[in-house]
């Protein structure tokens, strides 16, 4: 590969991926004992842990909505998640990410079923390497499903962008830093509604359209992985439930 090129002539990127290829994803549901729902993801070099609590009574009281539940999200980066130590606590960036993720979930959670309550979603970024908001949102959606929160769908998220003049999927760190654009999106897979869309950089309309199509396709693939993670979690539970029942009934 030529020096300083992000995408070569054959359409192969620095890390060996094709332009429409995702980084490897490992996803597991139900990893925390004390949370109502939880999940863990490794997406490329990103590692994010998500926990869901509730629905529970919202505090302070004046923030309660008498008609529906709140979905409160907290995206937090561990001080050791990036190469230069990050100062702990919410900063401008993580407050914004928390807000957009919370808005995305507010569209799918059936909030009317739990008036005055809150659903708390915590996303802890343990290791960050470009695309953490998509990673966090994807894992939090699994944690919400694991918590049994009624939702219209499990939302999935992925980014597309542009580097070396080429539209690419799921940017890694080098592509994010040196590329021309980064567009994270999140969709409701069943309806293809977009619930999150942000953009950093410049991109033409044609490039945007082709990238969006690529990212939506990728979101569907990610959704399948999310379901797989839940399937693995609950097939175990279903078996144990059956086993316990069988023993207690003396079968």
């Amino acid at each position: 590969m030529e020096e300083g090129k992000l995408v070569n002539d054959k359409g192969i990127r620095v890390d060996g991926r094709r332009v429409d290829e995702l980084r490897p994803i490992k996803l597991e549901a139900g990893v925390l004992n004390r949370a109502d729902g939880s999940a863990y993801i490794e997406w490329g070099k990103n590692k994010v842990l998500a926990a869901v609590y509730g629905p529970r009574e919202a505090h302070p009281r004046h923030r309660q909505d008498p008609a529906r539940a709140l979905v409160q999200c907290r995206y937090n980066m561990a001080p050791f998640s990036v190469s230069d130590r990050k100062r702990p606590g919410p900063d401008r960036r993580s407050v914004e990410i928390s807000k957009v993720i919370s808005e995305a979930f507010s569209h799918v959670v059936l909030r009317e079923q739990f008036p005055r309550a809150t659903v708390d979603v915590f996303m802890e970024v343990l290791q960050a390497s470009a695309g953490t908001r998509c990673t966090a949102l994807t894992v939090a959606a699994v944690a919400l499903a694991d918590a049994g929160i009624p939702m219209r769908d499990i939302i999935s998220s992925c980014a597309f962008g542009k580097a070396d003049g080429q539209v690419i999927l799921d940017l890694d760190k080098a592509e994010d830093n040196e590329g021309q654009a980064d567009v994270p999106i999140a969709i409701v897979p069943r309806t293809n509604e977009i619930v999150l869309l942000q953009m950093d950089g410049h991109i033409t309309k044609e490039e945007f359209d082709s990238g969006l199509k690529m990212a939506v396709d990728a979101c569907h693939r990610i959704n399948e992985m999310q379901r797989d993670a839940l399937r693995r979690r609950y097939s175990v539970t279903a078996d144990t439930h059956e086993a316990v029942k069988a023993i207690s009934e003396g079968v």
Partner: protein
Amino acid sequence: MSHSSDSRKDEPPKEKKLVFPGDELAVSEEYIAGEGTLDERGKIYASTVGIVELDSKERVLRVKAFNPPVMLKNGDDVIAVVSGTRESMGTADVVQVEGRERSVSGDTNGSIHVSKVSSSYTKSVKGEFYIGDIIRAKVISIDPSLQLATTGKRYGILRGYCTQCRLPMTMKGNLLYCESCDSTDRRKISSDYGDTWVETEKNKKHREHMDKKEVP
């Protein structure tokens, strides 16, 4: 509505099917959308992860979640902490529904009317409960407000605290006794006062394990 005119044969019971939020289950004409489902534009979708249950008699489709959120309903036995007492009414915060690990969703501030404290005549809630007492109560109303009752032997204080020194009291006969200040109290005590084990799915295994261990 008559079901006898329904010429269609009821489907044979399908194998247990695991579904995820957003899965299309049926069209609205086939079934009524029950718990764990949602009806949207003429179709029924699953709204939680769970096992599909078809009630072919009532024609209701439900998705039974593995660990659904805890919603209080009439008749639930709950564990609550007394937060205030007056002549005619006491208040208590519901901490947990018995048998469930998860915390309670929605309103947890319940009230107990004097008439619902015990089955015999009670003059005042003051003296029956004190602030901080942990009680077992029954939910008797949700709407418009959460109402609790402690009539019945099982219900009442599971752990009471001394009003002077705040130490947990022990049961002596049908009275509560504080060892450090040598005082006694007559309160509405539950039949299993003391170290009550609130059993849930999760800690059941743990208890069974510990029970086995104790046998030498």
